[in-house]
């Protein structure tokens, strides 16, 4: 068992690129993404796995990076909001968020996008109840919920796997 300050090198694939990072066993995924890899698109708010603004995908599943240890992602695939677009071509969810005015301050947007991505990956045509249940872990204090729901709806027919 590692002590909390022991450092270890891990290999993790982030947005399709293999990365070797030197982390302490207590380092959180969010800090490694934001500080070591300079992927600041993943946002931090509550630190408690409640607001969802720090949501990223680990092996395709939505997780809160604020409560995920970086070492847990060893040899796994992490996808962040920076990895959604294909170059300058936006993912349909991103385009739908623009078209539906789903961002106000935009601080929650990366988290909602990643949650929505995982949802549509799991269920291609979710019922409103399924969407609500999935979004229970995402807070938008600006209250853009209706537009976010519309964006998720709009993105469905063409969402790629």
């Amino acid at each position: 068992m590692l002590g909390k300050d022991d450092r270890i090198e891990i290999t993790v694939t982030v947005n399709g690129e293999s990365q070797v990072v030197d982390v302490a066993s207590s380092d959180l995924l969010i800090d490694v993404l934001r500080e070591q890899l300079h992927l600041t698109g993943t946002k931090r708010s509550c630190d408690l796995q409640i607001c969802g603004t720090c949501t990223v995908l680990v092996d395709g599943k939505a997780v809160s990076s604020c409560t995920t240890l970086a070492v847990e992602t060893e040899n796994r695939e992490v996808r962040t909001v920076e990895g959604l677009a294909d170059g300058e071509t936006l993912h349909p969810l991103q385009q739908a968020f623009i078209d539906e005015f789903a961002s106000q301050c935009g601080f929650c947007t990366p988290g909602f996008l990643m949650t929505a991505f995982a949802l549509l990956d799991e269920v291609s045509r979710p019922t409103p109840e399924e969407v609500h249940r999935y979004l229970e872990g995402n807070v938008c204090r600006c209250g853009s919920y209706t537009n976010i729901l519309n964006a998720i709806e709009r993105a469905q027919p063409t969402t790629e796997r």
């Binding site: 623009i98 301050c105 935009g106 807070v139």
Partner: protein, 763 residues
């Protein structure tokens, strides 16, 4: 989708949307400067006491710690004036004598990493001689101890009053005594948290004798002026930049942690970043909890003859925006009715709790909770439908909201009817359900202020619009690009808004009071019109005749279909070789808009416009559990003209969703002055699942009757005003209980139901 030259009122995508959906939008918390250090704060666990010692030795010894700062360091750091605030400058950078609330910062650790700073901060030992804390406004008014012993109470009603205001007309006591019926009640509104998703963040760096600050603030020029005053600098030595801000709602107005971060950077001699945790933002600022005692008298015909209101606002340990919030509470308490005799008193009272400041709507939700609940109850007492009662008594267009102020600029009855239609008012609610409505009005645009804007048309036909408006999510920058595009007859996508930087942005008072679209928007429009004029004159000079044209990419396209390259025209006009396109510079204009001043207006500045929010609700009450479910809600905002309808509607809907919080469940809970639920595990915010079952209806009333560009009024606050009284009326209609305390959580509703069934009702 967007037609060139016709961008106003169109679904133009927000200019910040691409950056926000790709994760490229930079917020203060994302920024790192070279050699930057990180700060963590030590917060008091005592609610009230005298600091006897702060032992920093252990923290200083930690490897990676750069310095530890306490209130005692301020003089040595060259701080000229350590206090800040709005009108009452009572908040110190760090206190060196009294702690006034549990959670108050009393020391700061600067270290190489945030983690080291945070760990070292736990090693700082703060010794405090306790003083009896003032935990409620009643206690504070009695004044066993004083939160600010050096200050005199601002009112004669008791101790610890930070600010006191009164507006009155006529003889309210006589009118109440002669009234046919007097409704009297006490209404409570909880202290609630802004919870902007991005916690407060500031980065400060000293470059020689100049100061560079990056902060998530709604008021960069106010921060600049505070920093210059406090640190003995000229204003031109202070630069404040504001990247995207992850939510504000009023909680990032005035200075917050900027003065402290600057002091830390001074001591550390390196750039310092102070990024709070969400829990710390909970302990920074809040919305005033309030107690409103209101008496409203009506004559035999139901006309309102008198209203007497007393508003007590819990402003916490520091005044912050409290004085302004109190002033507007007194000003708005009478409500949008023609009432010949009224007296409205409001006071901000210090307690030993988290400070309260500006929060979307200022104090309007608190006083409208009382005022509109009272109107609903009066209508009920008189046996008149509450919609009909308001049809008969709401101010008409041109009526006095307050004597000698701007006449009412809205069709209140028409707006309320739209809200009522949204919940199918005329159709009776089924068993177990009820409907209710309310109308809320605030004077809009804030007090005296200047707004400036600069528009630059560049030689390639693209444009920039510079303002001091912080982009906190409201979408003001979207609106500015559309105004420029409308006046220059170009594609809004070719207009770029610049985020505030006090070194280069034109001046602005700040991003508050729904003023940006109207006041800054007017300045933007004037500047854009001037650029369009200059362009038109240039064309006339070169072509010998005045021509109509639009800008398409880098060309002017004239009304006869011919075109010309803008850079070539500019080169000819400026006698420069066209090969030197970059030499051409822009066609530029700086314009401003000042608020009016009137000696007669009670506030000195007549209301710029009225921000009107109507709400209508249909609820279902579960008598077993006391749970109230929102079935339908319609919010009607009178916006004059929606320049970007989607953004405007999103703002109003967002405000209404925020109101779901204080109406149904949000409340900061204290025990012995300690905030018990200052984290998201224990403080619940509205979620997608809290939307009304049948959806949230938002209607924008567009009569083009506002003083802003194209007839716009301010927006973004209206939706938060009217939900609570509309829902409370709906609850009454559903199950017969009247509740005067928010939030209407299941415990409270259940208790009220139980009391109603166990007590013999009036018959």
């Amino acid at each position: 989708m967007t037609t060139t030259g016709h961008s106003i009122g169109k679904a133009v995508p927000r200019p910040d949307a691409f950056a926000k959906v790709t994760g490229r939008a930079q917020y203060s918390s994302d920024i790192t400067l070279p050699r930057m250090t990180h700060a963590a704060l030590v917060r008091s666990t005592s609610s009230h006491g005298r600091i006897t010692n702060i032992d920093t030795a252990q923290a200083e010894a930690v490897a990676g710690v750069v310095c530890v700062v306490t209130g005692r360091d301020m003089a040595e750091l060259g701080v000229v004036d350590r206090h800040y605030g709005l009108t009452v400058l009572d908040q110190p950078i760090l206190s060196d004598d009294l702690v006034r609330y549990s959670g108050e910062a009393v020391a700061a650790v600067v270290a190489e990493t945030a983690q080291i700073a945070g760990e070292a901060a736990t090693l700082v030992e703060v010794s405090v001689d306790p003083i009896e804390p003032m935990l409620t406004v009643d206690q504070a008014l009695e004044g066993a101890t004083l939160v600010h012993p050096e200050r005199e109470s601002a009112g004669s009603d008791g101790a610890n009053i930070a600010a006191y205001y009164e507006f009155a007309d006529g003889d309210v006591e006589a009118a109440l005594a002669g009234a046919h019926y007097v409704h009297e009640a006490v209404f409570r509104f909880p202290m609630v948290a802004h919870y902007a998703m991005e916690p407060h963040c500031c980065i400060a760096a000293w470059n020689g004798t100049d100061l560079d600050v990056i902060a998530g603030t709604q008021q960069p020029f106010k921060v600049r002026s505070d920093l210059a005053r406090m640190f003995g600098l000229q204003q031109n030595q202070v630069r404040v930049r504001v990247p995207y801000v992850g939510g504000g709602y009023g909680g990032k107005l005035l200075s917050k942690y900027e003065p402290l971060t600057v002091a830390l950077a001074w001591k550390a001699k390196r750039p310092v970043k102070l990024l709070l945790s969400a829990d710390e933002s909970f302990r920074t600022i809040s919305r005033h909890g309030s107690v409103v005692t209101m008496r409203t008298g009506v004559d035999a015909d139901g006309n309102i003859v008198a209203r007497d209101t007393r508003v007590i606002l819990d402003t916490g340990a520091y005044a912050d925006k409290g004085p302004g919030v109190a002033k507007k509470a007194a000003y708005r308490a009478k409500g949008p009715y023609d009432i010949p005799h009224f007296r409205s008193v409001a006071m901000a009272v210090y307690t030993n709790k988290v400070p309260a400041g500006a929060f979307r709507g200022y104090s309007t939700p608190q006083v409208v909770w009382a005022g509109e609940s009272a109107i609903n109850e009066i209508a009920d007492h008189l046996g008149i439908d509450p919609l009909q009662y308001r049809r008969d008594h709401l101010l008409e267009r041109g009526g006095d909201f307050m004597p000698s102020d701007t006449p009412m600029d809205a069709d209140l009855v028409g707006g309320l009817q739209l809200a009522a239609d949204g919940v199918r008012w005329a159709v009776p609610a089924p068993e177990g359900r009820g409907k209710g409505l309310a109308t809320g009005v605030k004077d809009g645009g804030g007090g005296p202020s200047r707004a400036e804007a600069e528009v630059r048309l560049l030689a390639d036909g693209s444009a920039e619009v510079l303002t001091g408006t912080s982009e906190i999510g409201q979408g003001a920058h979207a609106v500015y690009t559309q105004i420029v595009a409308e006046e220059l007859r170009c594609d809004p996508a070719r207009v770029t808004p610049r985020l505030p930087d006090t070194a280069t942005s034109p001046f602005d008072h700040g991003t508050e009071a729904s003023r940006s679209t109207v006041l800054v928007g007017n300045a933007v429009r004037k500047a854009a019109m001037s650029v369009a004029d200059q362009l038109g004159e240039m064309v006339e000079r070169l072509l010998g005749t005045r021509r109509d044209f639009v800008i398409e990419e880098h060309r002017l396209v004239f009304d006869d279909g011919s075109d010309a390259v803008l850079a070539e025209l500019m080169a000819r006009d400026r006698n420069l070789p066209v090969t030197h396109e970059f030499e051409l510079g822009p066609i530029v204009s700086l314009s401003y808009h000042d608020t009016l001043v009137s000696g007669k207006a009670p506030l000195g500045t007549p209301s710029n416009f009225y921000e009107v929010g109507h709400g209508a609700a249909e609820v279902d009450v579960d008598r077993e559990t006391g749970r109230v479910e929102l079935i339908r809600y319609t919010s009607v905002a009178d916006v004059g003209k929606a320049l970007n309808p989607q953004t405007c509607a999103a703002q109003d809907e967002g405000a209404a969703i925020m109101a779901i919080g204080h109406t149904f469940f949000e409340e900061m809970v204290f025990e012995n002055g300690e905030l018990l639920n200052g984290n998201l595990a224990e403080y619940r915010l509205p979620l997608a699942a809290d939307l009304p079952r049948e959806g949230m209806g938002v209607e924008l009333l567009e009569n083009e009757d506002g003083p802003g560009p194209y007839g716009a009024k301010g927006a973004g606050e209206a939706g938060i005003i009217s939900m609570a009284p509309a829902v409370a009326e709906a609850v009454y209609q559903a199950c017969g209980v009247r509740i005067h305390d928010l939030p209407l959580n299941p415990q409270r509703v259940w208790r009220a139901l139980n009391e109603a069934t166990t007590q013999p009702g009036p018959d």
